[in-house]
C-alpha cells in the first residue's frame, strides 16, 4: 500500500462517534467559537491509542476495534459491495496498521490514517475482484446490495440508492458515503481521500445533485427553473 505512512497536510482529529446530526441536516462543519474540549479529548485518546498500538499491545487494537470496528466494516461493505469482502478488508487493514505503525509519524490523526488504509484496501479488493470477474468472464455485474441489512431498513430505497451511487464517480461516491453515511467531517474526509476540504464539500455537492437527478421523479418545468 503506497499511501501508508505519508504525511498529511492537515491536523484534524476524528472522534470515535459519527458526526452528530441534530434536527438540522446541513451544515455540521461550522462550529461556534471557543475551545472544543471534546476535540481535545479526542486528540489525546487518538495519540494514546496510536502509542499503545505502536508498542504492540493487542488490547490497543481491540480498543480500536471497539471504537471504530463497526463503522469500518460498514464503510468497507458500502465500498466493496458485500460483507465477506468487507470483513476481509477490515482484517487486512488491522494487519497493515500493525505492520506499518512504526512509520506513522503523527502528522495526521491515527484514526484518519487507519481509515485511509481501509479505503485503499477496499479499492485494492474491488480491483482484485474486478480482475477475477474478467478472468471468469462474468458478464453480469454483481449487485452490491443484496445482503441482509439491519431491521427497519427499506430495501427498495436502499437498493435504489446503491444503484444510483454505483453510477457516481469514485470520489463522489466515497465522499457521500463518508459524509452522509459514516458521519465524518469534511476536514476528516479531506485527509482520508487526499483532497482539500473545499474539494470535499464541492464533491459532496456534486454527488448529491447527481443522486437527486437519478432518484427523484422529473420535476415540473416551474420547479426545474431554479
Amino acid at each position: 500500500m503506497g499511501t501508508m505512512g505519508l504525511a498529511l497536510p492537515w491536523r484534524a482529529r476524528i472522534s470515535s462517534v459519527p458526526r452528530e446530526r441534530g434536527t438540522r441536516v446541513e451544515p455540521s462543519e461550522h462550529f461556534a467559537g471557543g475551545p472544543n474540549l471534546a476535540a481535545v479529548d479526542a486528540q489525546g485518546e487518538d495519540a494514546a491509542l496510536a502509542a499503545a498500538c505502536r508498542s504492540g499491545d493487542l488490547r490497543a487494537y481491540e480498543r480500536l476495534y471497539a471504537l471504530h470496528g463497526a463503522r469500518m466494516k460498514n464503510l468497507a461493505r458500502n465500498l466493496v459491495g458485500n460483507p465477506v469482502d468487507a470483513e476481509d478488508a477490515v482484517q487486512e487493514t488491522f494487519l497493515k496498521v500493525h505492520r506499518s505503525i512504526a512509520s506513522f509519524r503523527g502528522q495526521s490523526s491515527f484514526i484518519t490514517w487507519t481509515y485511509r488504509i481501509l479505503i485503499n484496501t477496499c479499492y485494492d479488493a474491488r480491483r482484485s475482484r474486478r480482475r477475477k470477474k474478467e478472468v471468469a468472464n462474468e458478464d453480469s455485474e454483481e449487485s452490491p446490495g443484496l445482503e441482509p441489512r439491519a431491521p427497519g431498513a427499506h430495501p427498495a430505497l436502499r437498493m435504489a440508492l446503491e444503484r444510483a451511487l454505483a453510477k457516481l464517480t469514485q470520489h463522489q461516491r466515497d465522499v457521500f458515503l463518508l459524509y452522509e453515511v459514516e458521519g465524518f467531517r469534511h476536514a476528516e474526509i479531506a485527509g482520508m481521500l487526499e483532497m482539500t476540504e473545499t474539494a470535499s464539500k464541492n464533491t459532496l455537492f456534486q454527488a448529491k445533485k447527481n443522486l437527486r437527478q437519478m432518484l427523484e421523479p422529473p420535476r415540473t418545468s416551474a420547479a426545474g427553473s431554479r
Binding site: R21, R24, V25, E26, P27, H30, G56, L58, Y61, E62, Y65, G69, A70, R71, K73, N74, R77, N78, E87, V90, Q91, F94, L95, H98, R99, R149, A150, A153, H154, L157, R158, L161, E162, F176, L177, E180, V181, E182, T198, K201, N202, F205, K208, L211, R212, L215, E216, R219, A222, A223, R226
Partner: protein, 221 residues
C-alpha cells in the same frame, strides 16, 4: 440580525452554507415553494443515506482479527530477533570488529588445515603399476623373452620332427602356450599398467620355459 437570502443563494448554501445561512434559507423556504421543495429534496438524501448504515456487530469478527494479529506479531518477533543479531556487529567498536574478524579468519584457516590433514588417504589400487616400475617390468620381460627364445631355438629340431609321442605332446602344449602368450601381450599392450596381466604373462613364460627344458632333457635321455 436576520440574514436575507434569495433563491439564487440556494445552491451556494447547499454546497458550503453556514448555520446562519441555512437558517435564513429555511426561513425563505417558508414563503418560496420551489426552495421548500429543493431543501426537502436535499435533506431527504441525508435521511435516505441512513439506509446504508448497519453497525450491527458480529461476535466472531474480533476474535478472527485478534488471531491474525497474534500470528503476525509472532512472525514479526522472529524476524526482529534475527535482525537484532545481525545488527549487533556494526554496533561494536572498530577494534572489536577487527579482533572478531581476525579470530574468525584464524578459526577458518585452522579448520581448513585440520580438514586437509585429516582427510582420508585414498587407497592406491595395487593392481596398477607406476610408470618407472612398468619400464622395469617391460625390460625384464624383454630379456626373459629373449632367453626363452634362445631355449626355443635349441629345442626347435626335436619339436619340428617329434620322435616320440611325448615330444609331440610337448609341441602341442607349446603351441597353446604361444597362443596364450600372444593374447596376453595384446591385452597388456592396451593396458600396460595392469599388473595382473603381467603376472599371468610371467606365469605363461615360466610354463613355456619349463616345457622347453623338459623337451631338451628328453633329447639328452
Amino acid at each position: 440580525m436576520t440574514m436575507n437570502v434569495t433563491c439564487s443563494d440556494r445552491e451556494r448554501i447547499f454546497e458550503d452554507g453556514t448555520p446562519a445561512e441555512w437558517a435564513a434559507l429555511e426561513a425563505h423556504a417558508t414563503s418560496c415553494p420551489l426552495c421548500a421543495q429543493e431543501v426537502r429534496g436535499w435533506k431527504s438524501l441525508s435521511v435516505a443515506a441512513k439506509q446504508l448504515r448497519d453497525y450491527s456487530d458480529s461476535p466472531s469478527f474480533w476474535p478472527r482479527i485478534e488471531r491474525a494479529l497474534a500470528e503476525q506479531a509472532g512472525r514479526k518477533a522472529q524476524s526482529t530477533g534475527l535482525r537484532r543479531w545481525l545488527l549487533f556487529f556494526p554496533s561494536l567498536s572498530i577494534r572489536w570488529q577487527t579482533a572478531l574478524a581476525v579470530t574468525f579468519v584464524l578459526i577458518l584457516t585452522m579448520s581448513a588445515g585440520w580438514v586437509y590433514f585429516q582427510r582420508p588417504v585414498e587407497p592406491r589400487d595395487p593392481s596398477l603399476l607406476k610408470s618407472s616400475a612398468l619400464k622395469e617390468v617391460e625390460s625384464a620381460e624383454t630379456a626373459y623373452e629373449r632367453a626363452i627364445d634362445k631355449l626355443a631355438a635349441e629345442a626347435k629340431p626335436q619339436l619340428d620332427n617329434p620322435a616320440t609321442p611325448l615330444l609331440a605332446n610337448y609341441h602341442e602344449k607349446l603351441l597353446v602356450l604361444n597362443s596364450a602368450i600372444a593374447d596376453l601381450r595384446a591385452q597388456a599392450g592396451m593396458n600396460p599398467s595392469n599388473a595382473q596381466l603381467r603376472y599371468q604373462l610371467l606365469a605363461m613364460y615360466r610354463e613355456k620355459q619349463h616345457t622347453l627344458e623338459e623337451v631338451l632333457e628328453a633329447r639328452q635321455r
